[in-house]
Symmetry: C2
Subunit: 182 residues, 2 copies
DNA sequence: ATGGTAGTGAACAGATCTGTTCACTTGTGT
DNA sequence: ACACAAGTGAACAGATCTGTTCACTACCAT
């Protein structure tokens, strides 16, 4: 559709992911992508607008990825929600793993009410809802919240410590929670 | 001892905490603290040096706080490690809660090998060791890792979503893990 | 009273930041 | 052949960034 716009989002995603949002300057994104500054500001009103576009794309990617894994598990007759932790496990093993974009965005735009912070919060709530929708017996929703907390914990554990085992650790905990309650 | 140095660390801590490390400029810290720039650079070689000093102080504070809570629980005959989650619960309820400094630092200085990133990783490992030292039956150390993952998860869950219930959620999960294994 | 220590205030350097503007080019559909 | 859309490249604005330097002041101990 708009190849420049998409290319900018992809390049920005890579740099934001690795170096953070404040540390990544517009000029850097332009140099890496080979796009001119005027074009960037034709497609995005501001840097914040670009960040939000990056987060939006990543949100859609992640939701699709997890929904796919859940569906696949269902087809195989496995516990659907546990498949999320297998996705995490693969993710943590990739070279380009620098933690969760949304957690990192939340850290840099820390104030509640900030648009970027709120976007990250919304993403996390959507993730939790996805878990909730795939649990059979969770009347008050607390099990979904616990599993979502495990997901966040696993990502941060893996990133800060450089520990690739975090997903397996969290999966084992999730199994315990599920066998106890479902 | 060195009132200016301490005052700079305290002011920087507050601003870094609320606004992040890159977003907080030196001039801002100077304006808030009322200290001159020359003095700052007499006490700290660089901004990174100041950040590390802030993290060092926060590390010592946190370890002392948790060790105190653990000791208190021991004296009352309660499960020592669970006391950590009560500390978290109080922390999340304070107005100045913007997540964990070390997780946030890890997010901004994302690359493994970066000095700030490594400091955060060391803090997290020390925290986990503190948990490990207060568990009776954890031969392979995996229980301590699981509890540490819960701590990280609770902090991130509380911060990104603005949910003050995360500590109680994590504590309930921790209780399950402990009754299952200890 | 004299020297040392700690700090101030202000200017400065040089880089980098986001964002704007404008003349020009390139490709495409009619 | 012509109009239009998309993009380039470069200059520019104005702010902000970290870090340095220097002349001066206040205080304190000897």
């Amino acid at each position: 559709m708009q190849p420049r716009r998409q290319h900018l989002i992809d390049t920005a995603y890579r740099l934001f992911n690795e170096h953070g949002y404040h540390a990544t300057g517009i000029d850097w994104i332009l140099a890496e992508s080979g796009v001119s500054k005027a074009t960037l500001y034709k497609h995005f009103r501001s840097k914040e607008d670009l960040i939000l576009a990056v987060l939006q794309q990543r949100h859609e990617q992640l939701m699709a990825l997890l929904e796919g894994a859940i569906q696949e598990a269902k087809n195989k007759g496995e516990q659907p929600v546990l498949a999320i932790f297998d996705v995490l496990d693969e993710w943590f093993a990739t070279e380009g793993f620098f933690g969760c974009n949304f957690i990192n965005a939340s850290a840099e735009y820390s104030t509640a009410g900030d648009e970027i912070h709120e976007f990250a919060a919304r993403h996390k709530r959507d993730m939790e809802q996805l878990i909730r929708d795939n649990l059979d017996n969770d009347p008050d929703g607390s099990l979904a919240a616990e599993l979502a907390l495990l997901v966040d914990g696993a990502v941060v554990y893996a990133h800060t410590r450089g520990d690739r085992n975090a997903a397996k650790l969290a999966k084992r905990m999730a199994e315990q929670l599920l066998t106890g309650r479902e």
